[in-house]
């Protein structure tokens, strides 16, 4: 059952990332070209149909994926880097900095990311940066808690003591002895965060807070298609479907990896051999 989820997740992700990658090499049509048939149903020429302007929906899904994935990746990278640094500081120093940082993280967790995105939209004007920062900041506490929590238990372990006994400095202990232990929980959290970031990006673009038109993104395409649903449902169906399947793939991958990478279970080697 678990193995099935993981395989399904990898398959889904390969498909959607493959599609977006394919968009760099080949596009079925110019995603911005206006004209031709409006609201054409799916056909060989337009596999996902066309929208209100007669633009090819598949081409727009392929190009829109760059925007959506790019923003999600940038946001999670920002959140992970900042969170891991703060969590590392808190976990290694302990004491007052730890207490202050972690109370700050609790506070951030209570602050709705949508609110931050709305504020940043006013301050920074339209564009992707407001939502990258908003989603990034939303991710900081998760990574900070994860890194801090792991470090708190890890630094008391015997192998750290042993490393210190043979004269290793703090930097060496951190990089060579502690970081490898953090890799697997971080990978799992990155996967799950990326899925959540994609959903958040879509919601923000849907509200018109993201990249301005005509640049497509999955969320913005849904917003545009919504008004014309009575005339043709296809432009509203496909971008959402691709988005949902990508997030589903990421979630399944995250769940599967969590089981596999748990060192106490030792399933990774078994799975790789199977």
């Amino acid at each position: 059952m678990r193995g099935l989820g993981l395989k399904l997740g990898i398959a889904l992700l390969t498909c959607s990332l493959g599609l977006v990658a394919l968009g760099y090499l080949w596009l079925p049509a110019d995603p911005l070209a206006i004209g031709g048939d409006r609201f054409a149903p799916p056909s060989l020429r337009h596999p996902m149909g066309t929208d209100w302007f007669g633009r090819d929906v598949l081409a727009r899904v392929l190009v829109g994926g760059r925007t959506s994935l790019g923003i999600a990746l940038a946001a999670v990278a920002l959140g992970a880097a900042l969170g891991a640094a703060l969590g590392g500081l808190a976990g290694l120093r302990g004491g007052l900095p730890d207490e202050l940082l972690m109370r700050g993280m609790d506070f951030l967790l209570a602050f709705p990311p949508l609110l931050l995105a709305l504020f940043l939209a006013v301050l920074l004007g339209p564009g992707p940066w407001g939502i990258v920062i908003a989603i990034g900041i939303f991710n900081v506490p998760y990574f900070a808690r994860l890194v801090r929590g792991s470090l708190l238990t890890l630094r008391e372990r015997e192998f750290v003591l042993a490393a210190r006994a043979i004269g290793a400095g703090p930097a060496r202990i951190l990089l060579r002895h502690l970081l490898p232990h953090l890799a697997s929980p971080l990978v799992v959290q990155l996967t799950v965060s990326l899925g959540a970031a994609l959903l958040a990006e879509a919601a923000f673009s849907y509200l018109g807070l993201g990249t301005p038109p005509p640049t497509p993104s999955w969320g913005r395409m849904l917003k545009e298609a919504q008004s014309y649903f009575a005339l043709s449902p296809w432009p509203a169906v496909f971008p959402g479907l691709v988005l949902s399947l990508t997030v589903l793939g990421l979630n399944l991958l995250g769940d599967g990896l969590r089981d596999l990478l748990d060192p106490r279970l030792g399933r990774l080697t078994a799975w790789l051999r199977s």
Binding site: A202, L207, G219
Partner: protein
């Protein structure tokens, strides 16, 4: 428990103060000319000056923050720049839509999730179990607003079983509820998926506990084993999750309101962004963040009250 409660109550105003300050700082302390930001680059000097006076930008910031806080204590959130009405009244009337929407959605989510999760846990590997696990994964991957678009498209535009949007007001409660059904469903289904998964996992854990075997061993009927022993314990984490879900629902409601043209807090906040109405945006933001903090506190306390094993120090 008592001292824990007391400490929470003491930190509550501090947290809200901190939130108020971060909202104020975010919108007022960043470099740049706020009045220019509000009126735009082409505005006349008179309009610019009027906004400067309304926002009291000639005063130093601690004084402005102090006045805002003091107004807050009296329930006065200032005046909206774009609508000329008190922010408190605007936010208050929008809450009469957003709160019922979030509540209705959480009721729907629980009504779907609890029986489904229970069935899945009591028949592991069965059809309901597989469907629940699958639907839960799907539900967590589908954005609420897309579900909303599909529901609206199929149930309101094609079949015309429900209104496609808008809100008639609570003077006609029946019509108002009907207008909330589709948005509540769009919010509830992904939450239901999540809660069903939680119920299943939690109940499966409890059913494996020795005291369940004891209950069965002394000859209780399966229904009372489930109802009196298993579910009571299994539902504790689910209730917590449902409470915290209310926060998610609130955030989701802000998006879904825009889809269904509901005059709630989400539409108000987005309109404030478009009009660069800083007092309205700060007020709406403060209310949302404050509700989240209160909700977290209530869930925290409910958790302790439900589970006597939890002792707060």
């Amino acid at each position: 428990m008592g001292s824990y409660f007391l400490r929470k109550l003491i930190t509550l105003p501090l947290t809200i103060l901190l939130i108020a300050f971060s909202i104020f700082a975010l919108l007022s302390l960043l470099p740049g000319d706020l009045a220019r930001l509000v009126v735009g680059p082409e505005a006349s000097p008179e309009a610019y000056q009027a906004v400067r006076e309304k926002l009291q930008l000639d005063l130093p910031w601690p004084v402005r923050f102090g006045r805002w806080l003091f107004g807050l204590l009296r329930g006065d959130l200032g005046e909206s720049l774009s609508r000329g009405l008190p922010v408190g009244a605007l936010v208050g009337s929008s809450l009469t839509v957003t709160l019922p929407l979030a509540l209705l959605a959480s009721v729907i989510a629980l009504v779907i999730a609890l029986p489904l999760g229970t069935l899945a846990a009591t028949h592991p590997g069965g059809l309901v179990d597989l469907a629940t696990v699958g639907a839960a994964q799907l539900g967590m991957a589908v954005p609420e607003f897309w579900l909303g678009i599909l529901l609206m498209g199929f149930l309101a535009i094609w079949v015309q079983a429900f209104p496609a949007g808008g809100f008639p007001g609570w003077e006609r409660p029946g019509a108002a509820l009907v207008h909330l059904v589709l948005p509540a469903l769009a919010l509830a289904l992904p939450r239901a998926a999540y809660l069903a998964r939680m119920t299943r996992a939690s109940l499966a854990d409890v059913l494996a506990a020795p005291y369940i075997r004891t209950a069965r061993g002394k000859g209780l009927r399966e229904a009372s084993v489930l109802g009196r022993h298993a579910l009571r314990n299994a539902l504790i984490p689910v209730v917590t999750a449902a409470g915290l879900s209310l926060g998610h629902l609130l955030a989701g409601a802000l998006v879904v309101e825009n889809l269904f043209y509901l005059p709630g807090l989400g539409r108000l906040a987005l309109a404030a962004v478009r009009a660069r109405d800083l007092p309205l945006l700060s007020g709406a933001g403060l209310v949302v963040a404050g509700m989240m903090v209160l909700l977290n506190l209530v869930v925290d306390l409910a958790y302790g009250a439900l589970d006597p094993r939890i002792r707060y120090r």
